[in-house]
């Protein structure tokens, strides 16, 4: 068990290094010279460009540049934003909590909706409720998040005037974006809950529980659900990781001041230090969350650790 956890954690290091190399190399893909891009639209002579290039270390060989990039990143220095002139780390730290807050709230909504819908569907297998819930999840999985978000705004905020349209000044601002994310994510969780629950409901101990006269509710929630929880936990974890980035669109729809909105602005302004910083931070969190789920899975289900 401990060995399994340690192995997973050790594997984290090469993965994170790989991610950092990919983020670093991304700059190489950019058409055009990065320094000339910095001065885009301004007239500067070749000499200044050379000086800036040397200042930024861009005249050094790539491996050396990467090492410098990595060492600085490890010390929490992700460079300076071309647009604002502020340290990228500081800007991300200002924004990341809002993204996390939204992702966590959205995941909670998704768990509540998804697990209950999945349980109901499994209990009423092949009957009306099951059919309705499965149809709803199929539609939900096909819905673009930005349209759902706009639809909620136009109904709840614009037509009924119940909730604020956008921004993040009060907890009331959180409801619609969290609901948008939660509704879409809950579709997958509902399907997963239903299918694992149906699998578990065929097990011997479930039959035993039923045979000894327990009520169906007790059987499902007390006995079956406990064992069906594992795959559901995995899906929830993976979705949470995806939400850290997938929530980007929803953030833009609701003008939620997270890293997503910041990333889109940075891409349009070609502010590469900011883009690289966000990519590095978000994908590292994703990798770390996924590893944490793997380890948790091993703790919850000892069979996994012996694989």
């Amino acid at each position: 068990m401990v060995r399994y956890a340690v192995r997973r954690l050790v594997l984290l290091i090469p993965t994170l290094l790989g991610v950092s190399i990919a983020v670093f190399l991304l700059r190489g893909l950019i058409p055009g010279d990065p320094v000339e891009l910095m001065f885009f639209g301004q007239s500067v002579d070749q000499e200044t460009i050379e000086i800036v290039r040397r200042d930024l270390g861009l005249d050094r060989p790539l491996p050396e540049q990467y090492l410098k990039f990595l060492l600085r990143a490890l010390q929490g220095d992700l460079g300076t934003s071309i647009q604002s002139g502020l340290p990228v780390t500081q800007e991300i730290l200002n924004r990341y909590p809002a993204t996390l807050y939204l992702a966590i709230s959205g995941t909670l909504v998704a768990i509540v909706l998804g697990v209950s819908a999945g349980v109901v569907a499994a209990i009423f297998r092949d009957r009306l409720w099951d059919t309705l819930i499965m149809a709803a999840t199929t539609v939900g999985q096909s819905m673009p998040s930005f349209w759902l978000g706009l639809l909620l705004i136009s109904l709840v905020s614009v037509r009924w005037g119940i909730l604020p349209v956008m921004g993040s000044d009060s907890p009331r601002h959180l409801i619609l974006p969290a609901l948008t994310i939660g509704l879409i994510t809950s579709a997958l969780i509902a399907r997963m809950t239903r299918s694992t629950l149906l699998e578990v409901l065929n097990e011997d101990y479930v039959r035993t529980a039923r045979a000894k006269g327990l009520r169906e509710m007790r059987v499902v929630l007390g006995h079956a659900m406990r064992n069906a929880a594992l795959p559901v936990v995995t899906i929830v974890g993976l979705q949470f990781g995806n939400l850290l980035a997938g929530a980007f669109i929803v953030e833009v729809v609701f003008s939620w001041p997270g890293v997503g909105e910041m990333a889109v602005t940075a891409i349009n302004q070609r502010d590469y230090p900011v883009i690289q910083g966000i990519l590095l931070v978000v994908s590292s969190s994703y990798v770390i969350v996924n590893t944490a789920i793997d380890v948790l899975y091993g703790v919850l289900d000892p069979r996994v650790a012996y694989d």
């Binding site: 993965t15 819905m143 639809l151 299918s195």
Partner: protein, 299 residues
């Protein structure tokens, strides 16, 4: 669908799979399910709309008319007009080509790059596998949407680059699937037999392994198509994909979002169009998966 090589033919040293045999009734099996039927219907209608629609719809999708701004649906404009007075029906019909094109190109990139890489990694193992797998793992370490976003940020926002980005995003998915399938097939007797009969690697890969891993590839391709449409529409919505005045569906919502109260059709028509498209391909993909790959069938 796939010409499954029967072991006998190879033991006899014939190598070639003989007369092509089609698995009977794939289409009938897919259409036998309610969801498969609905999915197929939607997809066929979409393809028809994209193929002949632009020739039938009279309005010009780019023609602006200041006097006709944000008109509600009527007999003149079935789906209303947008903030520039352009006919939304015409834009949806013309945009359907873009949407189908995005799905096709993205999946084609994933297939064309991912499949050979997966075959190489799975078949040769060792160092080849190590290099390919490391790159695949790193790409998969990025959250799905973020990978596409990262590539667009490097290439610059445009419809073409969004398609490339969404395509690259699917490459590791194909590589991983093909690699795993290849490893499973590699050790089968008929491959050993072919090798013993003196077949070279290229022949073994193309004649013996590839035909036997077609089914899961088709399933993945059919399920990645709608995913690609969604991601690309999302990129366009963020202004990182198709640029105005393109009638791409995701970008149509950008202009409409400022008129939620006065002209809800401006966002709802393209929104519903995207949803129905993705729904149709999802249903069809699920039905294909259930038919071709029973192991993956959802309970």
């Amino acid at each position: 669908m796939s010409d499954v090589v029967s072991a006998d033919q190879i033991r006899l040293g014939q190598g070639t799979p003989g007369p092509k045999r089609r698995r009977p009734g794939l289409l009938r099996q897919v259409l036998g399910k309610g969801s498969g039927r609905i999915g197929m219907t939607i997809v066929v209608i979409l393809v028809l709309v994209a193929a002949v629609g632009p020739a039938i719809v009279p309005a010009d999708p780019y023609q602006m008319a200041v006097g006709e701004r944000l008109r509600p649906p009527s007999s003149a404009h079935w789906f209303g007009t947008d903030e520039f007075g352009r006919d939304i029906l015409a834009r949806i019909v013309h945009g359907s080509r873009i949407t189908l094109f995005i799905g096709l190109i993205s999946v084609a990139i994933g297939l064309a790059v991912g499949t050979p890489l997966g075959l190489l990694a799975g078949y040769f193992g060792r160092r080849v596998d190590l290099v390919i797998s490391v790159v695949t793992d790193i790409m998969l370490a990025f959250p799905n949407f973020l990978l596409a976003l990262a590539i667009v940020s490097a290439l610059g926002p445009s419809l073409r680059n969004a398609m490339i980005a969404v395509g690259i995003r699917t490459v590791p998915l194909f590589t991983r699937l093909v690699r795993a399938s290849t490893i499973a097939v590699r050790e089968r007797e008929f491959v050993t037999a072919a090798r013993a009969a003196g077949a070279r690697n290229v022949r073994i890969l193309s004649r013996h392994i590839a035909p036997n891993i077609v089914a899961p590839i088709i399933v993945l391709a059919s399920l990645e198509f709608p995913a690609a449409v969604l991601v690309a529409a999302g990129l366009s919505f963020l202004g990182l994909g198709a640029q105005p005045p393109s009638p791409e569906w995701g970008s149509m919502l950008v202009g409409g979002r400022l008129y939620l109260r006065s002209a809800p059709w401006a966002i709802n028509v393209p929104g519903i169009a995207i949803m129905i498209t993705v729904l149709g391909f999802n249903l069809l993909g699920n039905a294909l998966r259930d038919t071709l790959d029973p192991r993956l069938r959802q309970k």
